[in-house]
Amino acid sequence: MAFFAWPEGSVVHEGFCNDTYRLSDEATAVLRALQASGPSDVHALASASGAAPTRVTELLQELQGLGLVGPC
């Protein structure tokens, strides 16, 4: 996976399917937090990204649906 995160939004490339996604700002924040921390949990990601834990859970599910993250 490769991604570019700009202040005005981010894009992600998923290599297996050669798909490109445009992510929302809040999904970008979670993804950046995850990339910085490595394997993590909802509360740590919520703290790092500034989103509520319930929202982080939803975003992780969306990112998992895109194949960008997975449970560990």
């Binding site: 490769a2 570019f4 700009w6 939004g9 290599g15 445009r22």
Partner: protein, 301 residues
């Protein structure tokens, strides 16, 4: 280095029969044609182009020649060849030169996968490029012609050739292909501009080619650094509007204008991401060319 304009028509005709080694940015086309109309169009529109060494390497061997048989007499047609094969159906003989130009674009779009290829005009001032991606009808060639005649250096009216590092943009600096109402619009505004023949009733409507100003073609191999990515949209009666565009949105729109983004996979993603990162991104709507030029002066400042 020999300039094409130094050849007389007879000499150019001889070279076209054996193969004219025409430089176009990073590429060399070996162009062949026995047709006088093709020779005269090249003499007019490529007078400032430089020729490559005859014995050197040629990226594309292209040829436009009449279709043989009954078509010599009834509804004459021409065929375009690249490396000896004919990828298209023939066109009416009167469209021979336009066919050559379309064919040359096709060669690069379909084969030059060492770079990211965007369907975009590219101009440069002060070493920084303005990339104008757009679907047909967005007004990018008209805007490119206006900017070129307004003092910007033309790299391409059709295709941005982006290094995979995303840090250099190349063009081919060939004649600008104008269509339909744009032809008269540019003629009226710049009456000294040199146009080639007008081709009516092509699959793109009426088409004519505009010669780049002197000095453009000899610099065709000189790339530019990223500066701005501007998505133009011509709209009748619209007020001129240049609005910042989020890079995420600019990326997705530019990817949609690429010839080979998906083919390049991760390398294409990284190239486009680097280009977008290094550029300011804008959405531009315009109706009047002079107002458009004024808006772009602000970008060059």
């Amino acid at each position: 280095m020999l300039r094409l304009g130094e050849l007389d028509r007879a000499g150019l005709g001889r070279m076209l029969r054996s193969g004219l080694p025409l430089r176009a940015g990073p590429f060399v086309f070996r162009v062949r044609s026995p047709m006088r109309a093709v020779r005269d169009a090249i003499a007019t529109l490529y007078a400032d182009a430089t020729l490559a060494p005859d014995a050197g390497f040629h990226d594309f061997h292209v040829e436009v020649r009449p279709v043989r048989g009954l078509r010599r007499w009834i509804g004459p047609q021409v065929q375009f060849y690249v490396d000896g094969t004919a990828p298209f159906l023939p066109l009416p003989a009167g469209n021979a030169y336009a066919f050559l130009e379309w064919g040359m674009n096709w060669c690069v779009a379909g084969r030059a996968h060492h770079a990211l290829l965007l369907h975009a005009a590219v101009l440069e001032r002060g070493g920084r490029a303005v990339v104008l991606p757009g679907e047909p009808g967005a007004g990018k060639s008209t805007l490119a012609a206006a900017l070129m005649l307004g003092g910007w250096r033309l790299l391409s009216d059709e295709m941005a050739i982006v290094d995979l590092a995303g840090d250099r943009i190349h063009g081919m600096a060939r004649p600008v292909n104008l269509k339909n109402a744009s032809i008269d619009l540019v003629r009226r505004r710049w009456p000294d501009a040199v146009f080639g023949e007008v081709f009516a009733d092509t699959h793109k409507g009426t088409v004519s080619h505009l010669r780049p100003p002197a000095g453009t073609m000899p610099r065709a191999a000189e790339p530019a650094a990223p500066g701005h990515i501007v998505f133009p949209r011509w709209s009748a009666g619209a007020a001129t509007s240049l609005q910042p565009l989020a890079r995420g949105d600019a990326f997705m729109r530019a990817a949609g204008c690429a010839f080979n983004y998906s083919l390049l996979g991760r390398a294409g993603f990284l190239a486009l991401g680097a280009l977008v990162s290094a550029s300011d991104c804008w959405a531009f709507e315009y109706a009047e060319l002079d107002q458009a030029l004024a808006a772009f002066e602000g970008l060059a400042a």
